[in-house]
Subunit: 315 residues, 2 copies
Amino acid sequence: MHSRSQIVQHIAIVGGTHGNEFSGIYLLRHYEKHPELMQRPSLTCQTLFANPAAHAANKRYISCDLNRQFKTADLANPALTALEQQRAKDINTRLGPKGAANTDLIIDLHNTTSNMGPCLILTQPGRFYDLMAAYVRLQMPSAVISRDEDHLAADDHALLCTVGRYGVIVEVGPQPQSVLRQDVFEQMHEMTQHILDFVELYNTNSLPALPKVTPAIRYLHSIKLPLDADGQRLGMVHKQVQDRDYMPIAPGDVIFTLFDGSEICYEGPTTVYPTFINEAAYYDNNLAMSLNEKVDITLADADTQGHVGISRGAI
Amino acid sequence: MHSRSQIVQHIAIVGGTHGNEFSGIYLLRHYEKHPELMQRPSLTCQTLFANPAAHAANKRYISCDLNRQFKTADLANPALTALEQQRAKDINTRLGPKGAANTDLIIDLHNTTSNMGPCLILTQPGRFYDLMAAYVRLQMPSAVISRDEDHLAADDHALLCTVGRYGVIVEVGPQPQSVLRQDVFEQMHEMTQHILDFVELYNTNSLPALPKVTPAIRYLHSIKLPLDADGQRLGMVHKQVQDRDYMPIAPGDVIFTLFDGSEICYEGPTTVYPTFINEAAYYDNNLAMSLNEKVDITLADADTQGHVGISRGAI
């Protein structure tokens, strides 16, 4: 038998961290009306509408991006008093505290304007995440697994879901800001249900046989739009790259078109795989896309046989 | 010969009427850097960035929708002092005054989040518009012609471009708010160039042979998302309708999916053709889509032979 404390018992599903990403907000409302959709025998599940003020204003945020306010030092800094900074502290009190959280898993629901389909973003390394990734991909082959666990290695993660013991983001697109698309809504619902099913199977050592290797991507860094000396944009994402999230960009491939008609090529040393291509919310910082490498998530042999979960072996 | 006053001489290209529709704003900047793109021998062309304050805030508008502030009575009403109401009066002074305008043609550049492709919206009936529609469709077969000249028949049009003697909207999508897509940018540029070419050919009685009949759509009315008694949305645009702008909706076809899983069908008496399906900006008013009928734009025989323009016959 295993330690009771290993059970992933307290789950929070969070929507509206960004006020103009509608799928999570409407999915929360739907789950609150139909709580049976969140119920599994081994766990309890609560919902949290993270930034209703931003949603009321139909904006991503009021003062600053809520999903960048969860570094431990910032949560402890009394000088940070903007609306989202205050809200981050409230959420940390309610779902955290970060580092010693009462919440075992936070599932934060997001949309992107990029053509990313249903994407599961893992914010830490570890066996729990690896098993979740393998299970979700097995149930939902269209899902893409994205590792984003260490791009802030010099600091701790600023994302809301990192307040929990475990934290993942369900990121689905393409959906314009302030729009609700049925296809995107259904993909978010499906992935969230698979995650809840996974936790139930994990808690009860009932996972099915899982593939040894699950393909994934791992965040490397972001690249900016070309700018002039005054910070004005000189061009845009090349139409050969637009909508082609996850498709390889090799050294020498075009990535930007300038308004003067010329083209800019990718000059990195290796082939990379873009995400968040031309995401509306990243224009503030002139970010054009994120670049990733391909990685494999490899399970231990014992974890591929089924009837595993919290414990490494069979019950 | 024809009267000099019939020449469409003074043109204004307007962008940024909505601050988060980026294509027009960037196209204006491009034209200002390359004024030769706006030049034609028989006309002069100026640009106007209609709502820079809204663009700076990365919003459609600050106080109210600028593109609804141009009714003659509103322009004359000193009690209307909100930012966009003031701006409308400024624009009316600069490009109008409405009803006796110094500007012969206003081309207002817009984006939609809907899958409408390049759409030319005509705001009044008349031969000038009919010839423009036939010419633009001939040059750009992907263009859709939309007649929106009389849906405010009981009042006068509230749109910015109606300040000019003639006014059209270049409406291109799909593009999320606050995003610039190269494909959409290029379609807007192409349609704008065809309009300027048309005016030059019209002014000089040099139009080519044009088709007798040009297919178009005509705006009928809008329909709202299903709401509960508290005004909360009960559902969303059906995924079978999403992205299918211009495709027929027949009586009995599904149009909405409710969150409870049930479907709502279209109950109108005749087949209609939707536009602005699930447009982000129309959520404020819970508008789900606009409905249109198919119409033909039919030219007089004399106008189909070529070498026509201002005058009805050959020179």
